[in-house]
Amino acid sequence: MSALLQVEGLTKRFGGLTAVKNVSFALQPGEITGILGPNGAGKTTLFNLLTGFIRPDRGTIVFGGAPLIGAAPHRIVNRGLARTFQLTRPFIGMTVLENVVVGCLAPRVRAEGHTEARACDMLDRVGLGAKADLVVDALSYGDLRRLEIARELVTRPKLLLLDEPFAGLGTSEIEPLAALIRQLHLAEGLTILIIEHRLREFMQLVRRVIAMDFGEIIATGTPSEIVRHPRVVEAYIGRGGDDLEARLGVTTTESIRGTA
C-alpha cells in the first residue's frame, strides 16, 4: 500500500533556531496518528510546513503521489489536505452556518452545489445544528472547535490535521469531541494526524504516536511504547523520572484491551 503522506528530511530554521529538524515519516491511508511533544517541540511548525503556510528550508513532502512543497495553502486544501488551528480562528461577525458555507465554496467542492444544505448537514453531524444561525462570537470554546472541524470537513479532505483539538476544553467537552474524531476515523476511514501535548485523551484515540522534542522525532511507536520510552519520559518530566504512565495516570488503548 502506498503512503498517503510521505515526509522526507523536512527542516525549517528560524534564524538560529531549528524549529523542525530532518523530520521523516509516512502516513498510510485510514490511519490515525498522533504527534506528541512538549511546548516548543516544533509540532505546529510541522503542520504549517505540511499545509503550505510556511516553506521548508529542506526536505520533501509527497501527498497522494504528488509533491506538495511550494503550493499555496488554498491549493493544498483543494488537493485534500485540511487543517485546524490551535487557537480557533472563526470568521468573526458571521453566523455559524456562514462559517461552514465558506468551506463549501472551495473550488474542489463548489461544483457540487447545494452549499447551504451541505453545510447544514455537516453542522448536524458535529452537533451544532441547533446553533446554525448564531453569530460565532457567541459560541463556547468547545463549539468553536467543532465549528473548525466542520468547516474543514466540508472541503472533503483525505487527510485532516488537527492542531491540539482539546486545548482549553473542559472534561465534559472533551469526550464528545473525541467521540466525533473517532467516528470520522472509524466510519469514514478519514486519515487523521493529531497534535496534542495532553496525554490522557490522546492516548485512547490514536494507534501510533510520533514523539517530538526540539524539532526532532525522538520516538515512534504505539501509545504504550511511547509513554515508557526513556527519551519521551525525559522530555516530559526530566531525567530520572518515573514511569510516565503511572505518573500521569494515563490509560492507553492497550491497557484497556488488557483489562477487557
Binding site: 495553502p73 472563526p90 461577525g93 468551506g103
Partner: protein, 323 residues
C-alpha cells in the same frame, strides 16, 4: 460588527421608497438644491464602491480618490483633448481605474500589514502632484475645463446620476449577497482560516478592488461630465478621507448605508452654512460624536432597527386581524 447577509421584501420596499423620494427632488427643490444633490449622489457612488472593497474585506483603502481622479481625468482627456462624445468617458474611466487598481493591488494586497492602505494613499498623492506638474496636458491647478455636456438639462443629469447610483448599489449589493460576498466577509474575519478553507484569498481581494475601482472611476467620469471640469482636487487626500467617513457614518459593509452617509454629510455641510466660520467646527464635532458614540454607523443600523420594528408590528397586526 453586524452581519448584512440577507435581503427581505421590506428592504426592497424601503429602497424603492428612498429612490422615489430622491426622484421627487426636482419638483420641490431649487436649481441650487438639485446641483448639491447631484454631487451628493456622485459621492454616494464613490462611498458605496469604497465600501464594497474595504467594508467587506476589511482592507482599508486610504486613497480611493486615485480611482475617482483617474476616472475623471480620463473622461476629461477624451472629451477635451480628443473631442470624443462624453459617453465614451464612462467605460474608458472604469477601465483606466481598474488598470490603476491592478498596479497598486497586485503587489500590495498579498502582504499583511498597512502596505495596501499606504500604497493607495501615496499613489493618489503622486497622481495629484503629477497632474499639477504636467500642466501642459492636464491644465495644472486649473485642471481641464469646458467639457461638452452629456445631457442638456440639469434635471436630466440629476436623473441620470440617480439611475447610475441605483444600478451601482444594486449590482454591488447583489454581489455582496452572493457566495462572493460571503467569501469577502470571511476574508475580513480571518485570512488564514479562509486559506485553510481552500479559498484563494489574494484572487478575491484583487477582484474586489477591481470592481470597486471600476465603479469609482465610473463615478469620477460622472462627476466630470456633470461639473464640466476636472481638477487636481479629485486626487485629494481630503476627498479619500471624506469618503471613508461617509461609509463609517452610513454603516460599513452594508453597501446601501454609505449612500445615506454621503447624503447626510453633504446635507450637513450645506445645512451648516448659517454657522458661517464656525461651520467646520460644528461639522467636525458632529462627526466626532457620531464616530465615538455610534462606531457601527447611523444609517444602516437605524434601517435594520426600523425594519425589525415594521416586521414585528406587521406580525402583531396580522395576528389581531386573524383573531
Amino acid at each position: 460588527m453586524l452581519a448584512w447577509g440577507s435581503l427581505s421584501k421590506t428592504d426592497v420596499i424601503g429602497a424603492i421608497i428612498v429612490v422615489a423620494l430622491l426622484a421627487t427632488a426636482p419638483f420641490v427643490g431649487s436649481r441650487y438644491i438639485i446641483g448639491i444633490m447631484t454631487v451628493a449622489l456622485c459621492y454616494a457612488i464613490w462611498a458605496t464602491s469604497w465600501d464594497f472593497m474595504s467594508g467587506l474585506t476589511g482592507r482599508e483603502n486610504f486613497g480611493h480618490a486615485l480611482f475617482i481622479g483617474t476616472g475623471a481625468y480620463t473622461a476629461g482627456f477624451l472629451n477635451v483633448s480628443f473631442g470624443l462624445s462624453p459617453w465614451w468617458g464612462f467605460p474608458a474611466a472604469a477601465i483606466v481605474a481598474v488598470l490603476f487598481s491592478l498596479l497598486i493591488g497586485f503587489p500590495t494586497l498579498r502582504l499583511r500589514g498597512p502596505y495596501f492602505a499606504l500604497a493607495m494613499l501615496s499613489a493618489a498623492v503622486v497622481m495629484q502632484k503629477l497632474s499639477i506638474i504636467f500642466s501642459e496636458t492636464t491644465g495644472g491647478q486649473d485642471g481641464l475645463n469646458g467639457l461638452s455636456p452629456m445631457l442638456r438639462s440639469q434635471v436630466s443629469a440629476y436623473y441620470f446620476t440617480l439611475g447610475a447610483l441605483v444600478v451601482t448599489v444594486t449590482i454591488l449589493k447583489l454581489i455582496a449577497l452572493s457566495p462572493w460576498g460571503t467569501i469577502l466577509r470571511a476574508i475580513r474575519g480571518d485570512e488564514a482560516t479562509c486559506q485553510a478553507a481552500g479559498i484563494n484569498v489574494n484572487f478575491y481581494k484583487i477582484c474586489a478592488l477591481m470592481i470597486s475601482a471600476a465603479f469609482a472611476g465610473f463615478g469620477g467620469a460622472l462627476y466630470a461630465n456633470y461639473q464640466l471640469q476636472v481638477g487636481p482636487d479629485l486626487f485629494d487626500v481630503a476627498l479619500s478621507i471624506n469618503i471613508i467617513i461617509m461609509v463609517y457614518v452610513g454603516g460599513m459593509g452594508s453597501i446601501y448605508g454609505p449612500v445615506g452617509g454621503a447624503l447626510l454629510l453633504i446635507g450637513l455641510t450645506e445645512g451648516l452654512r448659517s454657522f458661517s466660520e464656525y461651520r467646520l467646527w460644528v461639522y467636525t464635532l458632529v462627526l466626532i460624536l457620531i464616530l465615538f458614540f455610534i462606531p457601527s454607523g447611523v444609517i444602516a443600523p437605524a434601517w435594520v432597527r426600523l425594519r425589525d420594528w415594521i416586521r414585528r408590528s406587521g406580525a402583531t397586526f396580522a395576528r389581531r386581524a386573524n383573531a
